[in-house]
Symmetry: C2
Subunit: 517 residues, 2 copies
């Protein structure tokens, strides 16, 4: 027993010496080997990815969601990942999470790699000509920069890393699934052992607000023990550099529907007399924000917990990209009264996601609409509570003279109140932030930095939102977010896309983290 | 020759005596005979009407529009109407007008009966469950009052006059085509001679703003001579009484599109910083009207020619229905700062027909939209010029700080101007008003009154719009408008409908005018 003990000590010690000495060389070797594997297998990797992208993946579309899950499970099994299974909380209509694991002998740490395989809802009519959300299409540049659709690359054709693939979830977030599974495959095929136990967790309803994620984490908490969740989601930094993000804003959506006349009216016979709900909505929304984008709702900026000193220092180090991004996006005056983008991301926001009353374009008619609807999203920072933030907006709507109806207003309500709105708070969650100086966080930082020659960006809080508080709440485990796609990926909208270069970079980033020291 | 002359005098004289003596009796006899004919033929009349309603009739859908025209020509030929033909200005894509005539020996006057057979654009998704725009459907009451869909009445089943037919153009304005052709048929089959030469004119692009009507009137002006155009369009009075309308408001549509970022943006990563076009649109629209609905655009109410004394007197006699209509429509506070509906109809208006930015409902996504669009319609009264009224709005938009782009803004424009809008003025035309005391106008008033026991409503100006100035401009002929459908017909919107009772009443109204003294 003693002998065994000494041998073990020796093995460990020599491994330690070796790894210390060769660390630099080893790391570059890993990234190089992974890159070489990818170069030799680009066509096969993309072929499988295109198949995955072709599966419609709206969370509410439970039949197709399960086709996605089955496809991903197959991908995992092909790669020799163990214990591949669906994690379900019981509701057969709820999109399942997918689990798998690779236990590495002697590994001291366990890292769970997360991505989500569902995508934002689509309106195919809004996509550019020639594109369909679930027909992934190669384009030789960004469409905004005059990119042209090109045919699927032939087997002997070199794949230009500046090409893009257009389609729903190319970036958000099947790109994450791709990077995780391709990185593991590249390591495995290159005979490189991960340094940590790896668990895989692919969610199927993130874009729907993760309504069942908490229950799933709770139910499978023994299976889901780890030292850290690494969330593959969100874009890389606008400067093009790789970035590590330590927190996310919270988010809550609300929909406001204003009711006027019960019947749509001829705008000639009744225009000037019957109230117009679109005009009422315009007035209500205008009351919420000033011309500089400052939210005018009482107490909107209260509750915010200020950034720590190290977070402020990190913010100061982030390359300023506001002018380039603004020019690229084609507008003259940002909101925010002169604050920078990273400063504004650390404040709660109120944004109109969509607004509709009757029709515009070919279907426009000379009517006074019956209703007008706006969908808002409120982004939240540390300190905000999603229910409390919604309540501030509701209070503001009441203050503008509105009666808040619980359901479609009854005839009695219609004849009692001059202004009627139905307000629905949709699913929401609070912000989350991991301490930047946790040892495991620093390990991740070093690993990501090892995969790129350029300095990486460390971001205390992403502008985007993920329900990361759930991992703290149910598993008491920190999270770190690493984004893969080009920032101009049209995430959440029509013409979503990812650069091939981002896919390749993502494989290397994940491989570096799977072999982190 | 002399003998013939004396005989002719005698015949004329005795006819005169006879008609003078029997006038009262004759008139009620005519309406009664027409009613009896209708009662005996309700199923056949409705069957043909349902076929007509089943033909999609959007003006831009040139193939289907011509199917409608062919069907109506067939209806006219079956009724023995002469010279049935299409009137076209030359553009094969422009919807043709349909012409026909009945020359009555010894008639001194010629009346042209007008209706339009095209309908407003449709969005089938907005129609109530079970309804489709071009699948005319019987409902046992207004849907708003709990009406239920019923099956097509069987041949031996009594048709309840309170039933409604739901479908596009049931009211606006195939109802007019139906009333005109059914009235002529009822007279003809009852051996009642019209007292006037009748010309039939059915337009096919009224809901598209009648872009070719002027050219058609000009080209066929020798064929289209008459003493009066009677326009069958618009609803009956809200009190349920029949009404004769002497003028119409003008109308011009404009669309405003606001441009912000070139690409749709993730609302988390950029919300608070990237400008939101929906919010900009809300602010712009809010600047146009105050809370009472008063338009705040400089000079908006200038140019208006005041009503004459007899028009003011007529207005005073119109039954006040504001409270009943308001209650029926289910709202508490009308716009207009206390003015009545008929007073407000005699002022120019600004109405939002539709408004959209990105998506709401199931397709809503967490984005900052790239554009926001609003469609306005400006109703015009005597004195307003449509181009001048649009110019006032454009000037107002500029005054709010907007740069008006001629086309999609270029990159240079985007980076030069903080607020960018593209404004399109769509087709428009001015108001028109016929003198109420013209002898032929008084003949029409007497005829319509003869077809109903209740006092009819005389309305100097309808709230609605028709391009009636064209009849003055090209033919120098006055127009009078007579509405058939129930006022709650959802004209121009989803769930358009007509009461069977209104169809029957319309036949009698038109028959009375075709036999007016």
């Amino acid at each position: 027993m003693k002998k065994i003990y000494i041998t073990a000590i020796f093995v460990l010690f020599s491994t330690f010496l070796f790894s210390q000495k060769k660390e630099k060389a080893n790391e570059s070797t890993i990234v190089e080997k992974v890159r070489n594997y990818r170069k030799a297998n680009e066509h096969a990797l993309l072929k499988e990815y295109i198949e995955l992208l072709s599966l419609p993946n709206i969370a509410a579309d439970s039949l197709n969601i399960r086709k996605n899950a089955a496809f991903i499970m197959e991908m995992m099994k092909k790669r020799g990942i163990g214990k591949v299974q669906l994690l379900e909380e019981g509701n057969p209509l709820a999109p399942p999470a997918i689990y798998g694991e690779v236990i590495v002998p002697n590994a001291k740490q366990t890292i769970i790699f997360y991505a989500h395989y569902d995508g934002q809802p689509v309106n195919p009519l809004q996509w550019a000509s020639g594109l369909e959300p679930f027909k992934p299409t190669f384009v030789d540049n960004s469409l905004d920069k005059g990119g042209k659709i090109i045919s699927y690359p032939k087997e002997n054709e070199a794949i230009n890393p500046d090409w893009r693939i257009y389609g729903r979830s190319t970036a958000d977030d099947k790109g994450g699934v791709f990077a995780i599974l391709s990185a593991y495959q590249a390591l495995e095929k290159s005979n490189i052992k991960p340094t940590v136990n790896i668990k895989f967790f692919f969610e199927g309803e993130e874009e729907a607000g993760s309504p069942h994620l908490g229950k799933i984490l709770d139910k499978y908490k023994n299976m889901l023990t780890s030292d850290l969740w690494i969330i593959l989601d969100g874009p890389s930094h606008q400067s093009g550099r790789k970035q590590v993000v330590f927190g996310v804003r919270g988010d809550v959506n609300m929909s406001i529907k204003i009711y006027a006349s019960k019947r749509p009216l001829h705008s000639g016979h009744y225009g000037n007399w019957a109230p117009n709900p679109a005009m009422q909505m315009a007035r209500l929304l205008t009351s919420m924000k000033d011309e500089n984008g400052k939210v005018l709702i009482d107490g909107f900026y209260d509750d915010v917990i200020p950034l720590t000193t190290s977070e402020k220092e990190a913010l100061a180090k982030i390359p300023t990209v506001d002018e380039e991004v603004r020019t690229d996006l084609g507008f003259t005056k940002p909101e925010g009264g002169g604050l920078s983008l990273v400063e504004l991301i650390n404040l709660p926001s109120l944004n109109i996601n969509g607004m509709q009353s009757a029709n515009v374009g070919a279907m426009a008619a000379n009517v006074i609409p019956t209703t007008a609807t706006a969908v808002l999203d409120l982004r939240l920072v540390k300190g905000n509570d999603h229910a409390r933030q919604v309540e501030k907006v509701v209070k503001h709507i009441r203050k503008q003279g509105y009666y808040i109806a619980e359901n479609e207003p009854t005839d009695e309500e219609r004849l009692q109140y001059p202004l009627i709105a139905k307000v629905n708070a949709l699913s929401g969650y609070n912000a989350q932030r991991t301490q930047m100086d946790l040892p495991v966080a620093q390990q991740v930082v070093r690993a990501v930095q090892s995969s790129t020659a350029e300095p990486i960006v460390l971001m205390p809080t992403s502008g985007g939102s993920l329900p990361l508080f759930l991992f703290e709440k149910y598993l008491n485990t920190p999270t770190i977010t690493v984004g893969i796609p080009n920032y101009d990926n049209n995430q959440h909208a029509e013409n979503e896309n990812i650069k091939i270069k981002s896919l390749w970079g993502g494989i290397e980033t994940v491989a570096a983290m799977m072999t982190m020291k």
